[in-house]
């Protein structure tokens, strides 16, 4: 079940919100756990047990850590490591076992030894996200940034919170703890949440879903020409952005409907003027997590800045997927970020705007994407032959034949959307305006959003199922 589906919007959500608001505050976490586990069970009921096991494991060791934190710091550290190793082992097993065995098997095959194989392991939905949140919980408790949840049900609700369960934003417990103890439920907050949800829904259904054909084209067309591959990969990246950012918007909106304020996950990444800045605008909660739990500890241990950046992005690549292509994806950004530091071309959201820097960054990101969506080095190289012009400049005839003029129009509309809203965003950061698009929605703006939302519902009905891309992380 995904947010952009009839069944979620018109069956699950009204029933859940009905139960949630009928419950007195002290029982709302029970409603969240019940609703979230039902949401998760929609995919595979048997994997709920793993989910519960990880939750119990993390909370148990968090309590143990706190028990020894002041009296026996060494023991407290052991309990922390036990909890992290247990969680990471679970993640490694489900996400990387097949990749590891296949790689090892291919290696020994080179020496004439017999190949080994294991049965395909199903990747539980959202495992990377909830394991990361569990690790963040144990670390924050050890570092005394937070205290263990007073009630297990609150912790279970935090981990299972369905709006962010399968694709983030990654929520740090220290930022959520107080909200489980007290949060307001007002019509203003609910309306704000409804508007965020509707905007995300529009992004996902009206833009992202219509660009899915370009990903199929990229993955199934051999020897693409330069023009084809550039347009197809740009459109596929746009699909990824509207899909993921739209989902995050819906997740934040759903959180607001329940009185929670989640961390934002996107800040107009199309306006980035360096890859360093890109990762501060794209999947911001992941960047934040990696900075706090990977980069900073590396620096503390005396690892140099460039090495820390490289290792962080390497780990980011591995987190995204179990293949050498994803590792290269991480390394690619590690290298660009180091070069930016060396050449003094790191930018921030407040840096003055340069069209050339913006376009250069956009191209650097688009050129990395074949590694991301093929998750296969050899296939990526085939796409790169096209992107580097080795198959000729070509034309867009095949692309328009297969993907349709309609989707190309949506692609253009997508660019207008990202750069017009991005321009306002940039002006805001440069201090040229206090406003940015949709800061305080007027009645007219709300009517427009409603119009587009209803249009998106009809589009969804016409198109039926549309899968998210970040599910299997």
């Amino acid at each position: 079940m995904v947010f952009s589906s009839n069944i979620f919007l018109f069956f699950f959500l009204p029933i859940f919100l009905g139960i949630y608001y009928l419950m007195p505050f002290k029982y709302k976490s029970y409603a969240i756990v019940f609703g979230s586990y039902t949401f998760y069970a929609w995919w595979r009921p048997d994997f709920m047990l793993l989910f519960l096991a990880v939750t119990v494991w993390s909370h148990f060791w968090a309590l143990k850590t706190v028990q020894y934190l002041d009296s026996n710091p060494k023991r407290a550290k052991y309990t922390l490591w036990i909890s992290i190793i247990g969680n990471l082992s679970t993640l490694v097993y489900f996400k990387y076992a097949n990749f590891g065995v296949d790689t090892f098997s291919n290696l020994i095959g080179l020496y004439g030894l017999e190949h080994i194989s294991i049965e395909q392991i199903i990747l539980p939905l959202g495992i990377s996200f909830y394991i990361f949140q569990c690790i963040s919980y144990n670390l924050d408790i050890y570092q005394k940034d937070a205290t263990p949840a007073k009630k297990f049900i609150d912790f279970a609700a935090y981990i299972s919170l369905f709006p962010q369960l399968i694709a983030g934003p990654i929520l740090r417990y220290k930022n959520m703890q107080a909200q489980f103890e007290y949060r307001k439920h007002t019509w203003e907050l609910f309306s704000l949440g409804a508007s965020r949800f509707m905007i995300g829904f529009i992004m996902k259904v009206l833009i992202a879903d219509q660009l899915a054909v370009y990903q199929t084209y990229t993955l199934t067309t051999d020897s693409m020409s330069f023009s084809e591959s550039l347009v197809a990969n740009s459109a596929t990246f746009m699909q990824l952005y509207f899909d993921f950012a739209g989902y995050a918007c819906m997740a934040i909106g759903l959180g607001l409907m329940m009185g929670f304020r989640f961390a934002e996950n996107f800040d107009h990444p199309y306006m980035a003027q360096s890859t360093t800045e890109f990762w501060k605008r794209w999947h911001m909660t992941l960047s934040d997590f990696l900075k706090n739990y990977i980069t900073k500890p590396f620096l503390k241990c005396g690892v140099g800045l460039y090495s820390a950046i490289f290792l962080t992005m390497f780990i980011s690549g591995i987190w995204h997927g179990a293949s050498f292509a994803f590792i290269c994806f991480g390394i690619y950004f590690g290298i660009t970020m180091i070069i930016e530091r060396m050449t003094n071309s790191v930018t921030t959201v407040e840096s003055p705007y340069s069209f050339i820097s913006n376009m250069r960054t956009h191209l650097l990101v688009v050129y990395c994407m074949p590694l991301f969506w093929t998750s296969d080095i050899v296939h990526s190289l085939e796409i790169y032959t096209g992107m580097l012009g080795m198959n000729g400049f070509g034309n867009l005839d095949n692309l328009l034949t297969v993907c349709s003029i309609e989707s190309f129009i949506i692609f253009i509309i997508g660019y207008i959307w990202v750069f017009s809203t991005g321009a306002m965003n940039k002006r805001y950061y440069l201090g040229k305006t206090e406003n940015y698009q949709t800061k305080n929605l007027s009645n007219i703006q709300t009517v427009i959003i409603w119009g587009l939302f209803l249009l998106a519902i009809t589009r969804l009905a016409a198109n039926s199922f549309s899968p998210f891309l970040y599910f299997q992380f």
């Binding site: 079940m1 589906s5 009839n6 069944i7 919007l9 018109f10 069956f11 959500l13 009204p14 029933i15 009905g18 069970a41 929609w42 595979r44 009921p45 048997d46 019509w187 609910f190 309306s191 704000l192 949440g193 409804a194 508007s195 509707m198 905007i199 199934t220 067309t221 051999d222 020897s223 693409m224 020409s225 084809e228 934002e264 800040d267 900075k291 959201v349 407040e350 005839d397 095949n398 034949t401 297969v402 993907c403 349709s404 003029i405 309609e406 805001y428 950061y429 201090g431 800061k439 305080n440 929605l441 709300t446 959003i449 409603w450 519902i457 009809t458 589009r459 009905a461 016409a462 199922f465």
Partner: protein, 371 residues
């Protein structure tokens, strides 16, 4: 990420309260409808609990819910109308023609690696021919011309120049390799005005096209002709919905205005003429079958009766090995890897091969190339 004195993160701060109230009213109203739908769905399932634990129950409900969703069909039509009005397109997969003609977008695609793809396809044809010869049989190819080349007068977008040359490229190469084939391009071009050789709303040929192909096969390969007599009788003309019509989702009035509507199809059935019985039902027929027909949906689908017309044209029975939706390479690959290849009675293998298959991307067939 953000410095302490940096500007606050620019995110939506407020929204009119009426919007939240309207949202609640909308989901509550449709939510009540949905609960009734779910109750009805559960009542119709005996093993709901076991299906739930397998993860199948809710997915089945979701599928049914989407299919029966009250605004689904009107939405499909309205979006179809909008798409057509702005871009003059149907759904991705179809290319709209004039006078109600529809074409598959496969026929408008020219692979960038056309030459190297064709090298691979030719290699496969040679290997197939070699394997068939080693089994004591002879290969005869029947390349089926492209619909949008034969009926380009109905195409709003003309095919690429290369597409007009595909038949000749293939024929020249087959001549060079000494592989027998039937030149359908010439006969289809000659008869296209007098008869409708392809269906207007379908990717396939019409019964008239299938019969012409069978007759041309017999003319080109007189040595294949046997001594039985087969006849074909027609049924009443019936409304026929071509496979391409499902990609045309406008409202009925717009479809009717542009003639993207059902066409009539007269179906045929072939039988042994001596006793008038249907095909394969003669218990006393002791002649062994010496010809096999390998093909795609042009052969497999009974609506155009290609195998029946081949029997009639060749005056003998044949065995048929055809699969739909997989293309000629997969159908031949399956035949060559089956027991049927070892049938010592078979002397001739006719391979029905749509020319548009030469425009297929390598990734779709390269896994089939090893024989």
């Amino acid at each position: 990420m953000m410095k302490k004195n940096a500007k606050p993160f620019p995110t939506l701060q407020s929204s009119p309260v009426w919007s939240g109230i309207a949202f609640v009213i909308m989901i509550a109203a449709i939510g009540i409808y949905s609960i009734f739908q779910f109750y009805g769905f559960l009542s119709s399932r005996n093993n709901a609990l076991s299906l739930f634990f397998k993860g199948e129950l809710m997915r089945a409900f979701e599928k049914k819910y989407d299919k029966d969703f009250v605004i689904r069909n009107p939405s499909i039509e309205k979006w179809g109308n909008l798409r057509f009005a702005i871009t003059n397109e149907g759904r991705s997969g179809v290319v709209l023609g004039n006078d109600g003609w529809l074409f598959s977008n496969q026929e408008y695609f020219t692979p960038n690696a056309f030459e190297s793809n064709n090298e691979l396809i030719r290699e496969f044809i040679l290997k197939s021919s070699s394997k068939i010869t080693q089994s004591g049989k002879k290969l005869i190819m029947v390349p089926v011309p492209m619909k949008n080349v034969i009926y380009d007068r109905y195409a709003q977008t003309p095919p690429a120049p290369l597409h007009y040359q595909l038949d000749d490229y293939l024929y020249a190469w087959l001549d060079k390799q000494g592989i027998d084939y039937v030149n359908l391009a010439e006969s289809f071009d000659k008869h296209k005005q007098a008869q409708q050789l392809f269906l207007r709303t379908d990717t396939h040929w019409s019964p008239a096209g299938a019969k012409l192909a069978a007759d041309e096969l017999a003319k080109a390969m007189p040595n294949l002709i046997g001594s039985s007599t087969f006849e074909s009788s027609s049924t009443e003309a019936e409304a026929f919905t071509g496979d391409l019509l499902s990609f045309v989702t406008m409202s009925d009035s717009i479809k009717a205005q542009h003639q993207y509507i059902d066409e009539t199809l007269v179906q045929y059935q072939s039988y042994v003429a001596n006793d008038g019985a249907s095909l394969g039902s003669s218990l006393f027929d002791t002649k062994s079958i010496d010809t096999a027909l390998v093909g795609t949906s042009y052969t497999a689908i009974d609506d155009w009766n290609f195998p029946g017309f081949v029997r009639q044209a060749l005056s003998k029975d044949i065995t048929v090995h055809a699969i739909e939706e997989k293309g000629p390479i997969e159908s031949m690959s399956q035949y060559l890897n089956s027991e049927a290849l070892n049938d010592a009675d078979i002397e001739y293998v006719i391979w029905e091969f749509p020319i548009r298959s030469l425009l297929t991307e390598k990734s779709k067939f390269e896994h089939l190339l090893t024989l």
